[in-house]
Every structure is written in C-alpha cells, then in structure tokens.
Amino acid sequence: MIRDFFRVSVVDLDSGRMNVAEHEGRDLVAGGGGLAAMLFREYGHADRPWDDPDQPLIFAIGPLTGYFPLMSKTVCAFKSPYHDQYSESHAGGRSALSMRFGDMDALVIKGRARRLSALCIGARRFEIRDVEFLRGRDTLSSGKILRSMFPGSGRRSMLRIGPAGENGCAYACINVDTYRHFGRMGAGGVMGSKNLKAIVILGDRGFALPETPAYPKLFQTLYQQLTDTEIMNKYHGLGTAVNVAPLNELKSLPWRNLQATHDPEPGGITGEKMAEERLLRNAACAGCPVGCIHIGYIREQFKKNYQYRYRQVGYDYELLFAVGSMLGVTDSFNALQLMDTVELMGLDVMSAGVALAWATEALEKGILTEEQTIVPLRFGDAANYEKAIVHLGRAENDFYALLARGTLKAASVLGGADFACVLGQEMAGYATGEVFFVAEALGFRHAHLDTGGYSYDQKHEDKDVRRAVDFLVEDEKKRCFLTAMVSCLFARGVYGDDMLGQALESVGYARLAQDQDSVGENIQRLRWRTRIETGYDPDAVDIPKRYQEVVTWKGEVDPEYMAALKREYARRIRELGKPPEE
C-alpha cells in the first residue's frame, strides 16, 4: 500500500490556496464512494443549498487504483442541483490514474472563484488560472485551448464543463478526457456554480511496489482473466451497444418517450449496425485493457463540391437509447450527430434525451407551444432536436431554462407529469419492469448501476416483494464495496469477493480484505445516512403514471406489485439510513 490513511488535497477557490489533509478511516470506508461520503460529512453542509459556495465538490479513488486492471474509475460526490441532496457520479478516463499518480486519494474543492477559472493540480503542481475567455465555450474547443495551457499529455486528466454547466443546468455533466463523463445528477452544474471551467490533474509521481511475489502473480492472473477470456468480450466487441437489439426484442427498450418498448424497425442504432457502419475504433480508460469505449464518426458536407467535415463521437448503449430510440431517431448518423451536440453543450445525455422526449409529447398534446420550444419537436426529427439541444444547453428562453432544472420540475409548472419518464432523474434505458423502475426511482444515484434491478426483472417472473427487495439491498452492498475500490462495474464478474480479497491482501490491505462484507455494509449505511440528512425521503419519490402503462415481455406492468415494492424498498432504505445507535 502507499499509505494506510487518506491523503486529501483540499482546494479553496475563495482564497486560491490548497491544503493537504490526512484522514484516518481506511479500514472503515475503504475509498471511493465510502471515502467521498466521509469527506462530505467533514466538509459539506447538509442544511445548506447545493450552490452554497462552501459546499464541496469531491473526487475520490480507491485503495487498488493503479495497482490492478479496471480499477480505473473515480467517484465524484456533491450536493446535487437536481434535488439538492447528496449524490454521486462515477467516471473513468484518465481521472483515476491521474489522481493516483498526482498523489491524492481524494480531491475536495470548496469555495467559488471570483471569475471563471481552471485548476491545475498534481503531486508537484498547484495553480488556479483565470479562463474567463472560455465562458460559453463548448467542451471540445475549450479542451483544445486548455490542453495548450496546461501541458502534460500522457499523464494529464482533464475535467471540463460546457455551457450547460455554466448555466446551472441541473443535469449538466463534467466531461472527462473527451469520452467519459460524470454524467448524472448535475456534477457539471456544481462546477459551474464554483466558477470552475476545468480541472487538470497531473499524475506525475510513481510509487514503490510491494516486493512480495504475490502481487505480480495475481496481476498476471487478473490481467489474463480480463483480456483472454470470454467475460469481457461483450464490452470490447460491440460494447454496451450490443444491448439495443435484445432489449428491443424483450420489449424493454424505451421508444418515443416510453410510449412503446419495442419497435419493429430499430434501424441503424443497434450495436451490430453501429459497429459495421459507424465504428472507427475503440479506446480505453487508463489502466483498463478492455477498451469498451466505442468511437464512431459523423461526416457532414458543409459546402458543395464535396467539402466535408468530420467528427469522432463516442457512443454507448445509454446514448443510443437517450437520443436514439427515446426520440424516435433511428438513423445512426443522426443519432451520433445528436450525441455530438449534447457533448458540446456539456449535458448529461440521458437527461437531455428524456427531457426532450417529454417535451415532444407535451407539444403533441398541446401542453407546450411552439413558441416555447422554438423549434417544432417531432419524434424522429433529428435536425430540430439538434437545435433544441443547443437551446437547452444555453438555457435559451424561460422554457428551456425551466426544462434544464429537470423534466418533473417543468411538468410541475406546465403540466404533463403523468408522462414524464423520470425515475429520481430522467430514466436510464431499461424498461424491464417493476423492480427496475422502483430500483432506479429510489436508488442512491438513481442510476441503473446502483443495483442489478434491470437484470432481476429479466430473470424473475414471480412477484415476490421480499425476495426482490432483499436482492436490491444485498446487491447494492456488494456494489458499494466495489465502488469503494473504485472498480469499473463491468469487471464485477472477475472481481468476486475472493479475488478482491487476494488483491487487497497482496498490496497490504489485509484488514479490508477480510472485512469486505462489513465494510460494504458500513459504506452502504453511511451513504444513505448522508443522503437522508440532506433531505431525501424515499416515500416522497413519485413514479409517474407512464410506468404503469408500460408493456414488457412479461405483459403489462402490475401497479400493485410496483407500489408494494416501492413501499418495502423505501422502508429498507430508511432503515439503512438510520443514525447509528449510541
């Protein structure tokens, strides 16, 4: 191990200074999500709003980051502009390794810069620079300028926001190294509220490795399992986009604002079509040999006489759902074009797609006017969606500024809440059934990866509330430990308890290796407690009526089963989030 405590870089944007703090607690919270929650309790303010300058924006890595393959993610934690409660988002890119080699277990950013600024931090570097000239700039062109301002290619991770983050959009994302994102719950809005356009993390240190033979041997085994065997083929080959066709067949792919779960003509947005026709190449997060990042291309004629421009666009299942099926866009070029525009604006793609799907139906139903939407939104009409995404990112008028606060917020003012596809936040693309709807609506990050609710739906036809909720709670606990490491969740098939135990042990964390279960539970409780203290009430979460109208391969959704699941899951969450007994 590098150290048995946490080394935390605490940056204060008010004073423009930083401090290195040491925190105990490795054996209790491990790192990642556990460490982030611990740090929020130390530096955060449950009772103050998310944009109070003193609220921290936290990034945390885990004890195995850099030591083993696929321990390649970073947890970002903050009070969310979406619901003003504590939340988390996870991303990879180079962020985790840059933090590891920048010699920090966590980075805490407090305060608000007076003008738009960029922070550069490393093991031997600290600098805050005025970048007011980047205000309103999209993520792509900002990245180009920032790269030349802060050299360090190959050991640099660059986190940046687009116009949406600057405009306080509740679902603005933080772009990480172009192709990854802290996407959900509005982390980009928090950066914007701090007047922080970019964070450049320089990973310029190295550390001695354990001298035992166990470590390199185990590395070899894990590396082989993660590359040679079938387990990861899916992520490398077609990528998560492989899910489009089977979920469509399973009547679980949301189409046109979830008015349908299947379409006989998914067109060009299946994983196979994307790979055959649009895939340029793969890329990877640093420290991950799997390379699940899929990069496609768009080509556009900008002038007669064969004058083209082209752009490389990352795609994934979630993106194909959000700006593809959800908006009725089935042409692969069009879908990639929308992804690109979402990227430039710095929006969370799922929320942006789902919000515009709602707006489309609202316009159809006469709840909205074309004056409000500026362009006539119609399912399948990509050209107008492209314009709408820019309006949304730039908060162009009152309507888009309102929609940028969340679909249900907009619906509460304008009407149309029944068909808002919101499960805690704008939904992920798995209309698999009751367990998933409840799991995402109530889950900690309102993400499909909080638990395997979507896969539970696909495997179980019975309606056993107890069993389903037991599964959610237990599965979340395991994921809590993994996201304290912070492992990519795609590797969960390889990093079972035994492997994780061996890995931790081989680099000197014997206690953590033995206490996985209790540490996982401790983290789970800590996160829920922190969340509830910031105002979360699982009973108050609404599941819009649209979810009762969904038809999956199992048939119609059973509202009573869904309500019972929700009651029981809420009860369990409240129990998990209870303050510990004296």
């Binding site: 590098i2 850099g66 030591y67 393959p69 390794l97 590891r100 080699f101 031997r124 990245g143 180009k144 790269r147 290619s153 190959g154 050991r155 190294d177 172009t178 192709y179 990973g203 310029d204 240190r205 190295g206 550390f207 001695a208 490795l209 001298e211 390199p216 590395f219 590396y223 590359t227 190449r281 793969n282 890329a283 990877a284 997060c285 640093a286 420290g287 991950c288 040999p289 799997v290 390379g291 990042i293 990069i295 490389q312």
Partner: protein, 140 residues
C-alpha cells in the same frame, strides 16, 4: 539482438497497460512514467495515441552524451543501462532526439532496454519485438 517497436500505434486504445507493465516488471514501480514506454494522445483523445519509446539508435546519442558510462551503446542499437553509475545529470534525456528518456523529479532516467516484457500486456497488438542486425561499427 531484439528491438521493441511501437509498430501499430493506430491500433492503440490508450490503456497504458504497456507502460504500467514496464514500470511494474522492469522498474518495480507503480507508475505510467517511470517506464521505457510512455503513452500519450497526439493532441486530445480524438487524435489517437502515440508512444514515447527508444528507437534503438546506433550510435546512440544518449550514450554518447552520458559522461559516466551509465548508459552505454548496446550492440545493434539502443543502450545498456547501469543505474549505479548514473550521476543524474540529465544529459541523456537532453540528447535523445525523440524524447524517449523520462527523467523523474530526482532526475533518474528511465529508458527502454528492449527486453520485450511489455509486449504481452498490450491487448491490441500494437507492440512488436524484431530482430536487429548487429553492425560492428555501431558497437562501442
């Protein structure tokens, strides 16, 4: 005598597995810098990746610049490194025309010794070990 070359970098996914493996196995370090091969994007991820790697020069300018013999000419190309002789003057890195020598903050030079241990860790088959002919005049 073999030489490592980053022969197919257009296949690179930027995973750094190669540099991490070199640091781990050759230099016993957890690092992506303290390695004979370093990966960087060629101006943003969209532009693809390049490798900073020793070309196995013969004669080797870095060895010629080294005042102590810590780096000496390897037969056929590249250098043999004797860490104990290094006085950390950094002249080798300055002499290398392709920025293949990494100096850490203590001015320890890291350079590829063409052992090939990284090759097995590249999942995309970007790296290659190739036989090089040993030219007598290249030897020191």
């Amino acid at each position: 005598m073999k030489k490592l070359s980053a022969a197919r970098m257009e296949q690179c996914i930027g995973c750094h597995s190669c540099s991490l493996a070199c640091a781990r196995l050759v230099h016993k370090q957890l690092s992506w810098n303290k390695a004979g091969i370093r990966i960087r994007s060629s101006g943003g991820m969209a532009a693809g990746f390049e490798a900073k790697l020793c070309l196995a020069c013969s004669p080797a300018p870095c060895a010629e610049a080294c005042p102590t013999g810590a780096l000496s000419q390897r037969k056929g190309g590249g250098v043999i490194q004797k860490r104990k002789l290094c006085i950390r003057c950094g002249k080798c890195a300055a002499a290398c025309p392709v920025d293949a020598i990494f100096l850490d903050h203590l001015v320890n030079p890291y350079v590829c010794i063409h052992c090939g241990r990284c090759v097995a860790f590249c999942p995309h088959d970007c790296l290659e070990m190739k036989e090089i002919s040993v030219k007598e005049e290249g030897a020191s």
